[in-house]
Symmetry: C2
Subunit: 200 residues, 2 copies
DNA sequence: ACCGCGTTGTGAACAGCGTTCACCACGACC
DNA sequence: GGTCGTGGTGAACGCTGTTCACAACGCGGT
């Protein structure tokens, strides 16, 4: 194993990282394999040793982005499950707002959140992990009686969908004043949570 | 003005309709101006007489799609404002589910829902009309005291975002059983409405 | 020390894309 | 009947993703 020479080694990760950079900086439209390759000091066909497809590359990027989201979720350390739900929502939207283009890529080739038939021992894909975290908080809130939830899966989907909607709508460029945007984020979560409040 | 001969006249509307057909049938990826043109019995450059751009074409298509959505909203004849809100939500998701690809196109080049600075006399763009309809129902519900709403705009955005999220999530291909999908649609609306229920 | 092998990247090529431009045919008008 | 203008054509440009035959390089074996 020779020392990595002056010329950078071409790894799948390096390619994905470079693609991420391009998209975050110049948008998805600007991502072409040829430009990406020359940016890496290499010609286009060289990429195909590490990536089967452009779609494959975007999928890998989406995966990485979901992992980053999982990390954000893991950084939430609220004890109260309801507070945790709120924090997840904010983290989700924050992630989306940080780079709208990357957020968009996450859903270009949709991952299956499907906690359906997991092979048990295997590492869960990021998307599933992220949803599992959100789901866990909902389950805790239901178990503790803080929220009146019949079907935790349905409730988690409800919250997730709603937050996803907010994240999406905020990127539509309808330039709402930023205090309205911030208010919207909390409003959606709060109203749904209020809808789940136990009737004492 | 001669009779329109056997050969179909090439209109902007005809082009948009053909594009709609292609996208609905074979997806956005399959839409190329060249193929679209040959489908219309014409060569590609001929399209540029009626369309400045591919983007222009997609924008026109999005506009048409928003108009269709407005028509759906107009068909809602519930008297009770809360029932109207629910009906709007269902209509929105139904529209999205009928052709996911077309729904996606609606937001490719985002329209501004901005009821901001409308030129007063001018015809409102479909996106704005659609939002206005939804907004109206929310205002009515607030005025009638059926819902406890401080800021109707915020509430309308809340509902819209949430429904948009549902519409989007349902297309992620995470194959939820369809009864869960249906339940999700109502659940989101109902929980938010519950969150706005006046505390008697 | 040399030879061969396997890896990794190259250069050229293919098909298709959006878009532009010079041209041409045809119907309407004087 | 000749002229004009509109609307469509054919060819071209530069770009894209992708494939393929080939070349350069370093390692292992003799």
């Amino acid at each position: 194993m020779a020392l990595p020479s002056e010329r950078a080694v071409l790894t799948r990760d390096a390619i994905v990282a470079a693609a991420r950079e391009v998209i975050a900086t110049s948008g998805l439209e600007a991502l072409s394999l040829r430009r990406l390759a020359t940016g890496l000091g290499v010609t286009a066909p060289a990429l195909y040793a590490h990536v089967t497809d452009k779609e494959d590359l975007l999928r890998a990027l989406a995966t990485a982005e979901f992992d980053a989201l999982v990390a954000r979720f893991a950084a939430v350390d609220e004890d109260d499950p309801v507070a945790r739900i709120r924090a997840h929502g904010r983290a989700y939207v924050a992630h989306a707002r940080e780079s709208p283009e990357l957020f968009h890529v996450m859903f270009l080739f949709p991952p299956d959140l499907g906690a359906a038939d997991l092979p048990e021992g295997r590492e869960l894909p990021g998307a599933t992990q992220a949803f599992a975290a959100a789901f866990g908080a909902v389950e805790d809130a239901a178990a503790s009686g803080a929220l009146a939830i019949d079907d935790p899966l349905l409730a988690a989907l409800t919250l997730w969908s709603a937050m996803h909607g907010v994240a999406t709508v905020l990127q539509l460029g309808l330039d709402l004043p930023s205090e309205v945007e911030d208010a919207l984020i909390d409003e959606v979560t709060d109203r749904i949570l209020a809808g789940y409040r136990p009737s004492v």
